[in-house]
């Protein structure tokens, strides 16, 4: 490797160090808007938006967040237990109430949204969307349906999964890659497919 290449490598490594500093600043900024336990870390691609009071977004201790956490101006907010992981480009948006237990593993590209996000009536949807663009998120859900999502302790959600509103995922359950979870998943069960169906039981 020539001297020129070495200089390039050094310059790039300096850039990486700079990004590390930015990321540390990001951590401090995020933790001002939320309630966060000891030892939790937000990574480079993570983002946190809390449109309610500080205590509506609670992250436990020793969590590792690489994805996006979002709390709408309505609903019961988002609670994450201890030792949980949320992977890159995973999106958790709470308009009704989401609770994620302890030691839950959520891989990358997972979408967990507990609201329909928009109205089903086209005219109403258009009106509220224009209002959203102009004035930001409304203070009430209006006729948008929301329902709580609960993910219990030790569950494992594989990559590319979508979890729809009103779903409860039981303790120690496993959701296979690319599944779409539309119904409750019982504890200690492996589910997969679209819509996700039980495949087998895991003895606890």
């Amino acid at each position: 490797m020539g001297i020129k290449n070495k200089i390039y490598l050094l310059a790039y490594k300096l850039h990486r160090k700079w990004l590390g500093v930015v990321c540390r600043g990001k951590n401090l900024a995020f933790k001002r808007n939320i309630v966060c336990g000891e030892g939790s870390r937000f990574y480079m691609n993570s983002s946190v938006t809390n449109l309610q009071e500080r205590d509506k977004l609670v992250v436990g201790s020793n969590c590792h967040i690489r994805g996006e956490l979002f709390v709408y101006p309505y609903g019961d907010g988002l609670r994450i237990g201890n030792n949980s992981y949320i992977g890159d480009y995973s999106i958790v948006r709470s308009g009704g109430g989401i609770s994620i237990g302890n030691s839950v593993l959520i891989a990358h590209g997972v979408t967990i949204i507990d609201t329909d996000s928009h109205e089903t009536d086209p005219a109403e949807r258009d009106r509220s969307f224009r209002n959203l663009i102009k004035n930001g998120h409304p203070k009430t859900p209006g006729s948008v349906k929301t329902a709580r999502i609960t993910i219990e302790d030790n569950a494992w959600i594989s990559y590319g999964v979508s979890i729809l509103k009103g779903v409860t995922i039981g303790k120690g359950a496993i959701v296979g890659a690319g599944s779409v979870v539309t119904r409750d998943v019982p504890p200690y069960t492996v589910v997969a497919g679209n819509p996700a169906k039980p495949i087998k039981q895991i003895p606890p």
Partner: protein, 205 residues
């Protein structure tokens, strides 16, 4: 006006950084010819040994290539494309032939990543948070993946462990490939099923 100047300066810096990054990434792999990395490309080579990732001539990688601290690594052939946000994670061995097109957000992962038993999984995940990737597979199941020449994977496809995708096969968007796909077929759905034969039949259709 000031905004425009600032924007242009930022763009120039970004181009420079991406060039530096390209050189850095090239030093982490073995390139058989001229290869290119896109702006979103990342390489995580936990074994540190460049020979664990081999990339053929004229291949463009814009995704994330990750080699675990164990296993035989990743081998990609000539004239391939790996799209933005696509992840190729090798804990065993992933072989991709020549002229393979892999769209964006495709996941090719040859390992279960975690244990099935929930207490074992919780413990090993906590250890992983503290110490980084595990040094051995333990009870996590892994199996090699082979994608043969001229295959085309559409966006949001998942390829699970132990799968072989045949020559010239096409996988439709959003498919989850759990079993082998034969040569020259079109497979879609979750789990992926063959819906069409792409070889011309006796009548020439």
């Amino acid at each position: 006006m000031v905004g425009l100047v600032v924007y242009r300066i930022i763009r120039k810096t970004e181009t420079l950084i991406s060039r530096l990054k390209n050189r850095y990434l090239c030093s982490r792999v073995i390139a058989r010819g001229k290869i290119r990395f896109g702006s979103q490309a990342q390489i995580v080579n936990a074994q540190g040994d460049p020979s664990k990732i081999i990339i053929g001539d004229n291949t463009l990688v814009d995704g994330i290539l990750q080699v675990f601290p164990f296993g035989a690594g990743i081998e990609i052939g000539r004239n391939c494309y790996v799209g933005q946000g696509s992840r190729i994670w090798a804990a065993d061995k992933i072989t991709i032939g020549d002229n393979v097109l892999i769209s964006h957000n495709v996941n090719i992962v040859d390992t279960n990543s975690h244990e099935i038993d929930y207490m074992e999984r919780t413990e090993s995940a906590a250890r992983q948070f503290r110490e980084g990737l595990p040094k051995s597979a333990g009870s996590v199941k892994t199996a090699p993946i082979v994608i043969k020449d001229h295959a085309w994977l559409s966006f949001d496809v998942c390829v699970l462990k132990g799968v072989t995708i045949g020559r010239g096969a096409i996988i439709g968007c959003g498919a989850v490939v759990t079993h082998d796909i034969p040569d020259f077929t079109l497979a879609v759905g979750n789990p992926a099923r063959v819906v069409k034969n792409l070889l011309p039949n006796e009548n020439g259709n």
